[in-house]
Structures are given as C-alpha cells and as structure tokens.
Symmetry: C2
Subunit: 204 residues, 2 copies
C-alpha cells in the first residue's frame, strides 16, 4: 500500500508531519534566511503551496518548527534542583545532551543560526535563555538577582561558545572530542562561574 490516491481517507496529519520534519531539517541546516519554502516542500515530497496551506507564512513555519519537541523545563528542573555543587556538571551534561541528539539539536541549531541575523529568532533565543536558564539558575543561587544572572550568563556563554565552535563552525579537535572529555573539562569552569569565579584557583 505505498500508492496514495487523491483524497485519501486518513484525513490528513501525515503530510503535515512530513512538512514539519522537513522544515526542522532545512531551518537547522541553513538558518531562517537561506531555508526556502520550496526546499522544505521538496524535502518533504509535497508541493510548496501545501506548506503554506498548513502553516501560513514562513515566519509561522519557523515558529512551528523550532518549538521544542520535548519538555525542556523538566530537564532543567533536574539541573537546578539537585545539590548546588553539582549544578555545573549537570548543566554541562544537559546542554551537551540536547546538542548531541539530532532530534533536539535541529530546533536549537535552527534558532541559533537564525538568531544571528534575524531579530525575531534573536528575541526567541533571548527569551529562552532568560526564562529557562537565567531566571531559575539565578534563583538557585544565594546572591542578589543581578549578580546571579550575570554569573549564569557567563556560564551559558561558555556553553554557547562550545556549541558554536563544535557544532556550527566545526573546529578541530573540539568537534571530535568525546562528550565525557568535555564534561570533565567544562563542568568545573561552569561551576566556578556559578560559585562566583575561578579566582580561588591561584590558591592565595
């Protein structure tokens, strides 16, 4: 039963999923600007007009494509809920886990690529970082809010930079280093940001 007749009885919902998957792949691979409706349609094996029919404008397709397919809040509850001195390692593991899994990498890669030159995507990333990372992270610290947010931002900067160099630019040897190796090297640094800096390393 591979042949699909016109007016198929399933009532739709099949092609729509194909289009959404293709949109995720295209936006992740090319960013908002370079991704095209025609390309998404071709990749999904449907007509370009059908993409508009289901999702409307290109912006709306993008918004639908980058909605996280998993509950990210749950994962971050685990990160910030446990022992304070383990937040660094848990955050690094969570972050790398999202990026190593193709299903979750696609949306975040699409947002990151697009956020560089598209204000709406930048706003999405800004809001996500603020709501999902900075606010709960800062709240779990025993310092003033502004100080906590800055610490979190510096920690997130470290991880965001790794994402850019490892997953987008692909610089070696970082791009082929194992996750465990990265956890070993990054967790203490991220934790240090959390604890207010690496200054103590000099030993006084």
């Amino acid at each position: 039963m591979t042949a699909r007749g016109p007016g198929r009885p399933t009532g739709g919902g099949d092609r729509r999923a194909d289009i959404l998957a293709a949109a995720r792949a295209e936006f992740a691979a090319n960013g908002f600007d370079r991704a095209t409706i025609r390309g998404i349609a071709r990749s999904a094996g449907v007509d370009a007009a059908l993409v508009h029919h289901y999702f409307g404008t290109k912006q709306e397709i993008f918004a639908a494509a980058v909605e996280f397919p998993f509950d990210i809040a749950t994962g971050l509850q685990t990160v910030f809920g446990g022992a304070p001195d383990g937040i660094g390692e848990r955050l690094v593991r969570f972050f790398l886990g999202v990026w190593e899994n193709p299903d979750s990498r696609r949306p975040v890669l699409a947002v990151l690529r697009s956020a560089m030159s598209q204000e709406q995507a930048a706003a999405m990333l800004r809001e996500f970082v603020t709501a999902a990372l900075l606010t709960p992270g800062a709240a779990s610290l025993d310092v003033p809010t502004e100080e906590g947010r800055l610490r979190m931002e510096l920690a997130v900067s470290q991880l965001m930079g790794v994402a850019v160099l490892r997953y987008v630019i692909g610089v070696q040897p970082l791009a082929s280093t194992t996750v465990e190796e990265l956890v070993t090297r990054l967790a203490p640094v991220v934790q240090a940001h959390f604890d207010g800096g690496c200054k103590g390393v000099a030993g006084g």
Copy 2:
C-alpha cells in the same frame, strides 16, 4: 567645493571607500545573506552597478569588507608573547578591545553573523581561529599540540559565547556590564583553561 562634476579629476578612490565602509556596516548589521548590493549602494549614496564595478561579485565584496583594517597578528603577539600566567587577562582584554571598538567590531561581527549559515564565512572564521589563536596559543603552552589546541578552543569558546550573548543577542545584564568587570570575571577562567582546567579550585 562640495559639488562633484562628472569625470572628477581625483581619479577615484573616494566612492570606493564609501562603498567599502557601507559594505562593512551592512554585512555587520545583517550578515551575508540579508545584506544586499542595493542596500550597500543606497547606504553609500551610489548606484548598485558601481558596487559591482569596483568589487565584482557579492562574495568578493564580502571578502574585501571583512579584511581586518588593523594588524591583528601584532596584537596577538603581545597576548602570547608575555608572561604565561598573564595570557588569560591579555587575551580577554584583546578580545573585548576588538569588540568594543566599532571599527574593528564591524568586520568580526560580519564574519560571525555570516559564518552561522554560510560555509565560506564559516571557513574564514575556522581558519582565522586556527591560524591566529589556536596555533600560537597552543605553541606557547608546554603540552602536546593536540592538548594545547583543545585548551585554547575551550578558552576561545568562552569568549566567543560572550560575544554572541553580549553583542549579537544582547542579553541583560551581560550586554551592559563594563569591560573591566568582564575582565575581572573572565580572565581567571580563560587562564584556567590555559593551565589545564579549573579542577584545582576545589582546593583538594
């Protein structure tokens, strides 16, 4: 003598500079894809055809626009030439100095924005990071090359992430923190990457 007649005797070099400056601004503001020849021409107050006349294709304009107007190698010699335990602070100061000065920020912003979705710009960034940062940085360390490069990449990741969140995404309060404050917080972390990690912070 503000009026310019046709066939002006200066022999050209005036409009060309205007176009180049406009191209820097447009590429920095929008990235490669969203920047347009017409937009550059409009911004420079000339015709679009003149842009092609001087610089050729859009790729060639981009290449001309992102050529650093200052000798970056000299600055990095200072960073890596001095005392090893000051590399962290000197690298952070150099990096932030480049990004805080509009003249030098424009080219690097253009490359960063474009590298996210344009393979040629990504290759430029990859080669620049490798040749100007990783290789001299790793060479100044007393560890195997591969290990030194990875340490440098993690240090650069920290700075790259700060650039993304501070200068592109504009997340607060990081975007409005003073340079000195950032140097204070980042230099030890970058230095720790250089020295092989923050592990010693726990004090044993």
